[in-house]
Structure formats: C-alpha cells, structure tokens
Amino acid sequence: MAHVITIDRIRCDGYGMCAELLPEMIELDDWGYPILRAGPIPHQLVSHARRAVDVCPVLALRLRTAVPANARS
C-alpha cells in the first residue's frame, strides 16, 4: 500500500528535523519550513519516514496510507 506524508502547517514550527531524517522526500525552504516532494513514499524509505514523523517535536507530521481528499470549500 502506498504511503504519503501529510503535514499540519499550523502546527509545524520549522524545526527542520524531518528534513534531516528524510532528505529524499523533504527539503527546507529559506525559513526552515519543509517542502514535501509530491507523490507516494518509495517503499525503501517508509521506515525513514516513520522516524521523521516520530521525531517532529510538535507532532505536525503524519504518515497516511491513502491520499486524503484535499478539497476546499
């Protein structure tokens, strides 16, 4: 099953630890906030992604198995 990372933008404080643990999927912008690469996480990186989720000090990251509907009303 495909995994994706989602991020709670209101929570994220730009500590940037996630990018250190998962540089293949996450880079940081000029202010230290993560930019996620689009698409599912390659199979071999899922355990790294899980660690990135665990390390986020404000619990802003989540690992999901389905792409959430990103609709706005």
């Binding site: 933008r9 912008d29 000029d30 202010w31 930019i35 706005r72 009303s73």
Partner: protein, 421 residues
C-alpha cells in the same frame, strides 16, 4: 476598439437602482412575487444543479454540487452561512447587493436551507460594511415580525471582523464558533463539521441572490443570459482608469473591452488589467482586450474570474509598484499560523518593495522567482496560494519592468499607481 454595444442583462440588480437604497420586504414581494415553495430538498438541489450557477465568492465552485454535498452529510441539522464578509479590497459588489437587495439574498438563503436540510441561517457581514450590516439586520427583522403559516428558519446576524482571511469559509465558521477568525485545517471539512459541529454550507451573498431568482424563473431562464460557456449574469466591480468606475451587472462572456465601454470608457491609455481581485491575476491588455469574462474560458488561460474584480492599470503607471503595494497588503493579511505563508509572503513583499523603489539586491528577482514557486499548497488556507499566483502573474505581465528595476535600479514610469481601492 469595442465593437458591439455592452451586453448587460439586469437580473439581481433589476428593479430600482442601488442608489435608491434598500428594497423593503413589501416592495420586494410586490416586484418579484413570493418565493415559490420548494418543499423537497431534492427539488431545490436539482434545480441549482440544472442552472449551472457557479459560486461568486471567488472559487467558482458549482452551487448545486455543493448543496448536494452538504445535504448528504446533514439530517435536518445543517447550518447555512450567508457570506457577506467581502474582505477583498478591490470588490464592492457584495455590499452593494446587501444594501440594495437584502430580501433577495435572504430568499436565496432560505432556499439553501431547504436544499441542505438546515434549521439555522447565519448572516456573516463584514464589520466595516456598516450600511450593508444595517440593511441585512433590518431585512431579518422585517421577516421576523411577519406572520406566516410555515415557521421560517431562524436567522442570526454575526459581524465578520476585519481582515482578508475572515471571509474564508473555515475562518468564518471558526469565528462564529469561537470568535477566532483564523482558518482551520481541512479535514475536517466544514460541509461535515462546521458551525457548532454541524454540517455547514458557506455561500456568497451574490450566489444566493441568483439562487432566489432561479427558484422563481427556473434554470432555463437563468441559462438564457450569458454569451459564452458559462451561463447567467454576474455582478462585477470595475475600478482603475475608467470614466465611471463602480458595480455593474454583466452577462458572463462580456469582453473586457465591453466592460471598459460599459464603465464609460478608458480615461487614458491602459496597459494591464487586474482580474479576480488581489487573489486573481494581472493580464496584459494587448492579449486580453477582447477576452470574454467567462470563468471557464478564463481558467483555460490561467486566469480566474474570482469575485468579479476588473481593475484597469493606466499605461504610464508602474506595474512593479502596484504589485508591491498589493503584496504588502497580502503579507499583512497572513493569519500568521503557517510558516511558509507568514515568512514567505513577507519576504516576497519586502523584496518587491525594494525593487520598486530602486533599492533591490542583485539577486532579488531570482529569489522572487524561486520563492513564488515554492509557497503554493503550504498553508492551511488558500491565502498564500492566491497571493503567489497573483505575484507570478505580475512577473509575467511586467517582466520587462521587473528586469529594468533589477538591472538599472529605476522605473520607466513617471508615476506610481493608486487605482485600486
């Protein structure tokens, strides 16, 4: 330059002109007759679906489709929020409608309540729109004092606080619930969990006014106006360098040239037009003078109809300065919850301002291009997406001017532009 006479079917603005003030409940009923009773939820939803009406608050989402979605989550306990926040600085069409036709808007809200199964209506009016607020409050009171066989859905008025994001749907719901007008994360979607946890429909005031006429005259009647792919009429705000700026109702598909003619013609040479509002895009008039104002056709050109803002920039004004002013406003409007929005918009606004006044750093333009491509989709609400889409349109339309500001540290235009409200 314009060929045909301007096409203007008055529908939501039919009847006495807005300058005549507020139409009372009695006059409203005398002019249009009573709202037909739509008893079944499904009939109201199907009617709006057949009309093809698109929402007029900015996103252009099909109204019937949204009603069906909220109806699917509700069981008679939904809430309808009538969005009259009108936080877009370049728009004044919503407050014009609220002042002139509050009863038409309330008819539409009542129909929406039937359609989605709501037992409460909240009218959310921008606190700065004092006349609109008074007109809506009076209209609500007129209805409350009426004797009627059917118990009408209770209507409350809530004042929307100042600020661009206060008009965003989740911010409106958050404010009504907790007096905090900051947008919230989605999910949960407000169509499922909104005002006091109940399924909630947030609909723009103009959308509801059209719905009230569709209930009276039918979907086919609605679709008989309009020149292009999108049917119906729209209320737009024309500003900038035209002789008679102001609020106008047009057939969708009317061209930019016709809109300019309708507003008394250009006051001077024009170079560009801001379409859709601060959330919209600049477009070069050499390319779009004959373009129809049609949401579908505009989307194909990467433009948006938005909330119906059409603002003309004169030929001798500086597009970089005009853009710097709007970006400074947008950066100030960030609800400061999400880093990319808070820091990114501020950085873009500051660099644009440096360029505008001739004090740009050697790499400002390169950084602006990079930043503006990184921010979309990285906030809890659509503010940063709208702001960078607007900014990218400025980089396209005023690219020569931006390069001149960067390289020569100067502006080729004699005056800055103060056309947009």
């Amino acid at each position: 330059m314009s060929k045909a006479a301007p096409r203007n079917t008055a529908r939501v603005l039919a009847g006495p002109p807005p300058s005549a003030g507020t139409e009372s409940l009695k006059d409203h009923r005398a002019r249009l007759g009573p709202m037909p009773q739509v008893r079944h939820q499904e009939d109201a939803v199907a009617l709006l679906e057949a009309s093809g009406l698109l929402g007029r608050g900015g996103a252009g989402f099909p109204v019937g489709k949204k009603w069906r979605s909220v109806a699917g989550h509700a069981s008679g306990n939904a809430v309808v929020v009538v969005n009259g926040a009108e936080s877009e600085p370049a728009s004044s069409k919503d407050r014009t409608l609220m002042v002139a036709r509050p009863q038409l808007i309330l008819d539409g809200a009542q129909l929406a309540a039937t359609a989605v199964g709501a037992d409460e209506i909240v009218v959310y009016v921008g606190v700065e729109h004092t006349r609109a607020r008074a007109a809506m409050a009076h209209a609500i009171a007129e209805r409350a004092s009426e004797r009627s066989a059917r118990r009408p859905t209770p209507i409350h008025l809530v004042e929307a606080p100042l600020g661009y994001v206060a008009g965003e749907a989740s911010a409106a719901v958050h404010y009504i619930n907790a007096r905090d007008a900051r947008p919230t994360n989605k999910p949960p979607r407000i169509s499922e969990v909104g005002v006091r946890g109940r399924p909630t429909l947030v609909q723009n005031v103009e959308s509801l006014a059209h719905a009230a006429l569709i209930a009276r005259h039918g979907a086919e009647w609605f679709r008989s106006a309009g020149q292009g792919q999108t049917r119906g009429t729209a209320v737009i705000t024309v500003s900038g360098s035209v002789t008679r700026p102001g609020v106008r109702e047009i057939d969708l598909g009317t061209t930019i040239a016709e809109v300019a003619a309708y507003a008394g013609g250009a006051r001077e040479g024009l170079q560009a037009v801001l379409l859709g509002g601060y959330f919209g895009a600049w477009s070069d008039l050499a390319e779009t003078w004959d373009m129809p104002l049609d949401p579908v056709a505009m989307r194909a050109r990467n433009l948006s109809f938005g909330s119906g803002v059409v603002s003309f920039l004169p030929a001798d004004a500086c597009g970089v300065s005009a853009t710097a002013r709007i970006m400074a406003f947008m950066a100030g409007e960030s609800a400061k919850q999400c880093g990319p929005c808070l820091y990114g918009l501020r950085a873009i606004a500051d660099a644009t301002q440096r360029l505008a006044i001739g004090g740009g750093r050697y790499d400002d333009l390169v950084r602006l291009e990079r930043w503006s491509g990184q921010i979309a989709g990285r906030g809890a609400c659509g503010l940063p997406d709208g702001a960078v889409a607007f900014f990218q349109s400025a980089l396209r339309v005023f690219s020569a001017e931006f390069r001149l500001h960067q390289a020569a540290r100067r502006c080729s235009h004699p005056r800055a532009w103060a056309g947009v409200a």
